[in-house]
Symmetry: C2
Subunit: 204 residues, 2 copies
Amino acid sequence: MVLQTETEEKIIASAERLFYQKGKAGTSMQDIADDAGINRTLLNYYFRSKDQLFEAVFRKAMGTFVPNVAAMMSSDISFNDYLPALVEKIIDTMLEHPQIPIFVLQELSSNPERMPQIIKEMGIDPDKVMEKMGKGIASSKIDFDPRQVILSMISLCIFPFAAKPVALDILYGGDEEAYISAMKDRKVLIPMIINQIVSQNQSG
Amino acid sequence: MVLQTETEEKIIASAERLFYQKGKAGTSMQDIADDAGINRTLLNYYFRSKDQLFEAVFRKAMGTFVPNVAAMMSSDISFNDYLPALVEKIIDTMLEHPQIPIFVLQELSSNPERMPQIIKEMGIDPDKVMEKMGKGIASSKIDFDPRQVILSMISLCIFPFAAKPVALDILYGGDEEAYISAMKDRKVLIPMIINQIVSQNQSG
DNA sequence: GTCTATATTGTGATAGAC
DNA sequence: GTCTATCACAATATAGAC
């Protein structure tokens, strides 16, 4: 992260909070300026336009996930062995930034045509990911498509945060502590689930 | 569904499409009127305000899920036995309305304080849901909290649709047919996963 | 770098003619 | 029920003083 002026940092921090909660169209430049306690025109001075400010926030949010994937791909241990660490990393990231999934998915849902370029920019090679996955999942008991396994793992990790308001209320009666505690429990539950799918003779 | 005038139907149809894709703040009344091919003031004539039009769309979207839950709760067979039918119902609903999850979750994320009242209005009794769940899950092999099981099942069913742009591009190389086909496969995969978690001696 | 003033356009909503 | 005309206001963005 490059050094930034204090004002620029305040803008980004406020823009993040508000874009995450209210979305791009639901947040005005004035809202952000007020939240940051600065003059509205400074947003244009530093970021030229609302679009460019949003873009900065969006890219930072996307970048939150990439290190997790990158770390997995650069490690030389198999998917199965790396699984618990990966799940823990993802859930820890979610506990810190629970609003990011919906924010990112809402933007990608509105502008799906952005996906191909984003993948390219983030340096993710789908083939390489699949190769890594397939390696650990080859001996699957139920002969799952590796893509179904990875999709299921991500679903189990991320959806409970995207659906926090619903889960919190219906399943945990509004008890935030109970909800958080349950999310932490999933660090061990999810690898168990995935391992059960993938293979029961990992030792072989 | 009550009989509606043709104009009213056109408004709702356009409002759904646009609210789903661009969100509430990202969609103007003019956008909706143009999409419906009618005069903008008719929106106010039929729905009084943008807020009330949005509310109509939001409630209809929420109502899409409720029948699935309601059907499960009113059935007298156990959760485990009902599982495959429930998963199939949910995934079929998602295939028909893949944009609803993000739309609903975005709104609830912006206004989580709405949850308690919504649950009440929809006639969902959390205790009754939990009782139903706990019944089928009691003999769990890994002694899972029933809430973790239900949360996992929902995650596995819904997240792959919420994350469609990402999954489509990274996992299926942009091949829409392959993606849809994979989603259909999950109708049988997900019950297998959940059953493996829950119990291996359901017969007892 | 930070402010005030202003240009321009878009927005939700209503009144009133037909 | 549907239209035109209009209101009051909020939005993004820029020019220019300090």
